[in-house]
């Protein structure tokens, strides 16, 4: 499994996609944080990184599917899936290795934004007058959200041998879980249904964590969401490829 994990990371890093994704992510987030007047920290003198945490989910919504679209679709198209599935690995290990590799890539793209955090910290008046708790919580929340997008992306990739289809499906599912549940809860529906809908959406849990409160229920939600999609992926591997 470790060997497969390393290979996945290496193939991410040897293809241009990873660099484009990380580059675009950093470019867009830094534009929002430092340049665009509507959001820019320099204009507002607020020492926080809210622009990053508001924009990042939307950027990830497109970038993560671009990274994960290859994972199974490409193997299936080129036929290498036949060798992969006849190695002495369980299906769970195969899905797990690809998932972990995706998480590493997300982590790599978030890493440089710590520089922003440091800058914000230094810019604050007095220095260090920032809500570090909220910032940490937001990072954890963002990472949880991204991991859910990775799981969704892997699942979408397992459904098809076409990368474009895989990408579009992943964006759709991710958007649905991120925002659509929330929008649905604006409809005229019984109170209980609204609560359930809101609970199912990623947005509410993400916002909860951004406040700096790591609620075990939010963590549990993300763990279940990831497990759900990884299990589905494994199910597809077992039944559709063969």
């Amino acid at each position: 499994m470790y060997s497969l994990f390393l290979k996945e990371i290496r193939s991410f890093l040897s293809s241009p996609i990873a660099y484009v994704v990380i580059g675009v992510f950093l470019l867009v987030t830094s534009l929002f944080i430092w340049v665009f007047p509507d959001y820019s920290i320099l204009e507002f003198n607020f020492a926080n990184m809210d622009p990053l945490f508001v924009m990042a989910p939307w950027i990830f919504l497109f970038l993560i599917p671009a990274v994960t679209m290859r994972s199974f679709a490409e193997e299936r198209k080129s036929g290498t899936i036949e060798l992969l599935l006849t190695r002495p690995l369980t299906d769970f290990q195969i899905v797990g290795a690809k998932y972990l590799a995706g998480l590493v890539l997300v982590f790599l793209s978030l890493l440089p934004t710590f520089l922003y955090a440091v800058t914000v910290y230094r810019l604050a008046d007095p220095i260090g007058n920032v809500d570090t708790g909220a910032m940490l919580g937001s990072y954890i929340g963002l990472f949880c959200l991204a991991s859910a997008f990775v799981a969704i992306g892997l699942f979408s990739s397992s459904l098809t041998d076409n990368q474009i289809v895989s990408f579009v499906t992943a964006v759709f599912f991710s958007f649905f879980f991120y925002a659509a549940f929330d929008s649905l809860s604006l409809m005229q529906l019984p109170q209980q249904v609204l609560l359930v809908l809101e609970y199912l959406g990623i947005a509410r849990h993400y916002e909860g964590m951004s406040q700096g409160v790591i609620d075990s229920r939010d963590v549990l939600y993300f763990v279940s969401l990831n497990a759900f999609f990884l299990t589905l992926t494994r199910y597809v591997l077992q039944n559709r490829y063969r």
Partner: protein, 302 residues
């Protein structure tokens, strides 16, 4: 038994790709799996390698059931799939090390080096796989199938599309490997079977139509003897027909005759005596074995 399958069936929709197939292969045997396109060769191999499950029946490799202990089976099988799929963007050595890693070998570096030598990949080992010629890619496919020193090798058309030189090299390689390992290979090239496989299994439309040693299959055809003779002048066909045990005589161009007789009658001496009596000289005379191709066509014609 290295490989044992029992009443194995695979159904796609309504069609039986293979239909209650059974055979056993002992340790160290090299078996050729033959059959027309769509006969079910690849399907059988995909089940044996635990790529896909059968619809019914059992398959065992080294006494491990493919259904109940797939990981044990996979550890013991080396597989070269039909179209030799590879990761084009990886380097030859990087890929082989990656494969070795998945089998948790004790000393992957040394083993990969050994494989590179064995398969003659030396001069190409630092290239990306997509830059290799087809023959060298095929060698990479063989190397990845061999890297974990499997007990059973399953090769699906290992030499398709190779030039004659590569063909000979790869065949020699397979023959060498076959000295110690159990090999099942599928192919459409009869010379290959003649060169490599002492035992043949022929599948047609999902059913086994022949299973035995190569000689027995070639001999077994109707039990006839075929002699082609060339004389320096014409001879009365009736005289040939009159020889002991002759079933049929075919007149070919240029005073050549094809004589078919029941097995057990040595025609050569009778023809020689006849020619002497008729004052004819024999220019050539050869006994023809029915070729594997004939056997194949006869068994698989629908």
């Amino acid at each position: 038994m290295s490989v044992r399958i029992e009443s194995l069936t695979k159904t796609y929709g309504v069609q039986n790709a293979i239909d209650h197939i059974s055979f056993s292969i002992g340790h160290g045997e090299v078996v050729g799996l033959l059959g027309p396109n769509g006969a079910g060769k690849s399907t059988t191999m995909k089940i044996l390698t635990c790529f896909m499950p059968q619809s019914s029946g059992e398959a065992e490799v080294c006494n491990f059931n493919t259904r109940t202990s797939p990981l044990e089976v996979r550890r013991r099988v080396g597989y070269l799939p039909e179209h030799n799929p590879l990761y084009g963007d990886m380097y030859v050595k990087e890929y082989l090390l990656h494969v070795a890693g998945m089998y948790k070998l004790a000393n992957p570096e040394a083993r990969v080096k050994q494989m590179v030598e064995l398969t003659g990949l030396g001069p190409e080992q630092h290239k990306r796989i997509e830059q290799l010629s087809k023959g060298y890619r095929q060698r990479v496919g063989l190397a990845q199938a061999l890297v974990h020193d499997p007990e059973v090798l399953i090769l699906d058309e290992p030499t398709s599309g190779l030039d004659p030189n590569q063909l000979v090299d790869i065949r020699n390689l397979i023959r060498e490997i076959g000295q110690q390992k159990t090999v099942i290979l599928s192919t459409h090239i009869m010379q290959e079977v003649e060169a490599l496989c002492p035992r043949i299994i022929i599948i047609n439309k999902g059913k086994i139509v022949a299973d035995g040693s190569r000689e027995s299959l070639q001999r077994g055809k109707k039990g006839q003897e075929l002699v082609e003779v060339e004389l320096d002048g014409a001879i009365d066909v009736a005289l040939l027909r009159g020889l002991n045990g002759v079933l049929r005589v075919e007149v070919l161009s240029g005073n050549r005759y094809k004589v078919e007789a029941q097995a057990g009658n040595d025609l050569r001496k009778a023809i020689f005596d006849l020619a002497v009596k008729q004052n004819r000289a024999i220019l050539s005379l050869n006994v023809q074995q029915s070729s594997l191709e004939d056997v194949f066509r006869q068994l698989t014609r629908s």
